[in-house]
């Protein structure tokens, strides 16, 4: 017991002394992912950034897992197959509980892939204190070779775009193009105003105009909220994981021994939650888009779906 304590204290003192005597270069905290020097795919002018490289590693990990767990499936599962089945079955149950049995098979692959991809890239972020120290040195600063994809806006924005575009696609597929567009450019109330004005329909012309304008305005708000979705999706993930990375980089500078552990635990949790939120929000938006919106009861619609809250 005492021996362990003494050894620990000596190690701690050594680390502090080494840090003071040989200050090794630290990676700067940058929002943009750094391109690895000299690595450019020429034809399309694509600089290979450290986060792109890590994205590929995450993909390889996931595909490796799929190859390892998804092969030789037997009716009576063992070990790895149990893990794969638990994962797939649990996620499918979640998708089905939100989207219902009709749309679950369509939503499941996208939602699950988002969850797994984001989860792996979030958890790669846990290695930041190690990753940040491995890289090329340039002007006394380190360019790390690896960097969690979730701390690269290209990655999160790409996922957000896929999520929102697929939401529109499923909305159109389920409601038809005109009905779905009617949600954004809502002319029903104004048409009703003209019908009232020309006497084809009974009612208060002023009230009809007022309601029609409100409906039209709400449609415009929905357009804004669709665009805001992209921003909030991408910056939510980016902000959370980037903040976690900064935290994990800064804490070891304050005290590099034992203290970072609780933060690593916190970041594990945050990574899981963020992956979950990204997937579940995508799922929720998709299921909302597939629900047919009827009538001009904007009050009911506003109460039933939170999607005109600017997200």
């Amino acid at each position: 017991m005492w021996r362990i304590l003494i050894i620990s204290l000596i190690a701690l003192a050594l680390i502090v002394v080494v840090r003071i005597l040989f200050p090794f270069p630290v990676s700067p905290i940058t929002v943009a992912a750094e391109p690895l020097p000299g690595l450019v795919i020429p034809g399309i002018n694509l600089p290979i950034t450290n986060s792109l490289l890590t994205t590929w590693i995450a993909m390889v990990l996931l595909i490796g897992f799929a190859l390892w767990a998804g092969r030789n499936l037997k009716p009576i599962p063992t070990g790895k197959q149990n893990a794969a089945e638990m994962l797939v079955e649990g996620l499918y149950g979640l998708v089905e509980s939100i989207a219902g049995p009709k749309w679950a098979p369509s939503f499941f692959p996208t939602v699950t892939t988002i969850f797994l991809f984001v989860l792996v890239s979030n958890w790669i972020d846990l290695l930041t204190p190690i990753l940040a120290a491995v890289g090329f040195t340039e002007h006394g600063e380190i360019i790390p070779i690896l960097r969690s994809p979730s701390t690269d806006l290209n990655f999160t924005l790409g996922l957000a775009l896929i999520s929102v575009v697929l939401t529109q696609y499923y909305g159109i597929r389920s409601n038809g193009l005109l009905t779905y567009l009617g949600r954004f450019i809502n002319l029903k109330g104004i048409v009703r105003f003209f019908r009232v004005l020309t006497g084809k329909e009974k009612g208060n012309a002023f009230g009809a105009l007022f309601m029609g304008l409100i409906d039209f305005y709400m449609g415009l708000v929905e357009i804004v909220s669709e665009v805001a979705k992209i921003i909030s999706f991408s910056f939510r993930l980016f902000g959370n994981i980037f903040a976690g990375e900064v935290l994990l980089l800064v804490i070891p500078f304050l005290l590099s021994f034992l203290v970072p552990l609780p933060f690593l635990g916190l970041e594990t949790f945050v990574g899981l939650i963020q992956a979950f939120i990204f997937a579940v929000l995508t799922l929720a938006f998709m299921s909302m888009a597939t629900v047919v919106h009827g009538g001009s009861e904007h009050a009911e619609r506003a109460a039933a779906t939170p999607d005109n809250v600017s997200v």
Partner: protein, 77 residues
């Protein structure tokens, strides 16, 4: 105060002040969710999912503050 210090100060203030509202909001949300789980433990699954969705909406506001802070920090110079 030169422009750089103003920029840094604004950036800090943006995220700091912007986080207050969402913080309160998330607190209220989780409060409500936990109370409902306490009253009706069978509904835990759906309450949790809806809680997370609500938290995400509340957090979006903090994210706007974060975006503004990042823009102040890195884009405007």
């Amino acid at each position: 105060m030169d422009i750089n210090s103003a920029r840094l100060l604004a950036s800090g203030l943006a995220i700091g002040l912007g986080a207050i509202g969402p913080g309160i909001g998330i607190g209220l949300l989780v409060n409500g969710a936990l109370q409902s789980i306490g009253r009706n433990p069978e509904a835990q699954g759906s309450i949790q999912i809806n809680m997370f969705i609500g938290i995400a909406f509340a957090e979006a506001v903090a994210i706007y503050a974060l975006v503004v802070a990042l823009i102040l920090m890195f884009v405007i110079s």
